[in-house]
């Protein structure tokens, strides 16, 4: 085989591979990105139905309750403006507490958020960034309204 055509095949193979890789990455992004919504957005119906997404905010005081099986937990996430009820089956993270920040991932079903994952912060003093973001957005909305 001539050097030239060999080179062409190598380059062609490389380009084909790159295109395949880009297509792969794009489709993976398409299917697997998890968007983040604040409780206010969810209350306004802006969150997708039947798709996995995340909510951040604070665990409402006095909202944690366990069902008889002990494993299913109900609680509510709030950004101080709106409250979203959540159910979760499993063990909660060590730093999950009422009045503290948390982020939950799951799907919205009939107005109740079915969480598949609950993330709490790593540190005692501060909220997860997404939770802080949600509270901040709600504050901002509240201020705009009161004007």
């Amino acid at each position: 085989m001539k050097a030239r055509s060999k080179r062409l095949m190598l380059v062609g193979g490389g380009v084909a591979l790159l295109i395949a890789a880009v297509a792969l990455v794009l489709s993976a992004f398409q299917q697997n990105l998890v968007f983040f919504h604040t409780p206010s957005e969810v209350a306004e119906g802006k969150a997708p139905v039947g798709k996995t997404f995340r909510i951040g905010g604070m665990v409402e005081d006095g909202s944690i309750a366990r069902e008889a099986d002990g494993v299913t937990v109900r609680f509510a996430i709030t950004d101080t403006a709106k409250v979203i009820p959540v159910t979760y089956k499993g063990t909660l993270p060590d730093l999950f507490k009422e009045g503290k920040g948390a982020v939950v991932q799951g799907k919205l079903e009939a107005g109740v958020f079915q969480a598949s994952e609950v993330l709490a912060k790593h540190d005692e003093n501060y909220m997860p960034p997404e939770a802080a973001h949600a509270v901040e957005q709600a504050q901002q909305a509240a201020k705009t309204l009161s004007q």
Partner: protein, 197 residues
């Protein structure tokens, strides 16, 4: 130099540009929605005299700082000596907002506590802490359940709000105050507000 060899360099510069932009997003500079708005109204018990209430009105006509603190907050310990020095030199009046003294402390399970028990525990702890570390506050108020903190959009301790003569929030400092941030950020703003009024 062939053009194709520059491709990695250009790719890298694109990436670096994004990273630089990412740095500017660092929400230490979060523009608080409250900036230039009237501070949320509140009425809270004073730490030194819990039977008395403190309101924003009593600070009207002054440029002052509202410093959010708690005895369990480690970063507060870092800024505290500076606050004490500021109080000694009478730099600016500082009001302390003690935030979730008991229920904010991870070491305590406050769930079973009555509000009265929690309040007296909080006052005891806060007083002890101030007598140990020095009391830089003109007055300190107790936000037991953190409601006022939420109104102010507090989501980490310490935070410090700069409030003008008309009771508007003019600046929010997140994290401990350092000599550097005091001198280069807070003081110029305080002086500007004083001149303006």
């Amino acid at each position: 130099m062939k053009a194709k060899f520059l491709v990695p360099l250009l790719l890298f510069f694109g990436l670096a540009g994004f990273l630089a932009f990412g740095l500017t997003l660092n929400p230490r500079e979060v523009p608080s929605p409250l900036i230039d708005k009237p501070a949320p109204k509140f009425s809270l018990a004073r730490l030194d005299a819990p039977e008395q209430q403190f309101t924003l009105e009593s600070m009207r006509g002054e440029v002052w700082l509202l410093n959010v603190w708690a005895s369990w907050c480690v970063a507060c310990r870092q800024e505290h000596p500076l606050l004490v020095r500021m109080a000694r030199d009478k730099v600016v009046p500082v009001v302390g907002l003690n935030y979730k003294e008991v229920r904010g402390d991870g070491a305590i399970n406050a769930r079973g506590l009555s509000l009265e028990a929690e309040t007296s525990m909080a006052i005891e702890r806060a007083r002890r802490w101030l007598s140990d570390h020095g009391d830089p506050y003109q007055v300190s108020v107790m936000d037991i359940d953190g409601r006022v903190g939420i109104d102010f959009g507090v989501y980490g301790v310490p935070e410090t709000f700069l409030i003008d003569r008309e009771g508007r929030i003019r600046y929010k400092h997140i994290g401990p105050i350092t000599p550097d941030s005091l001198q280069n950020v807070l003081m110029p703003k305080i002086e500007e507000l004083r001149r303006a009024g």
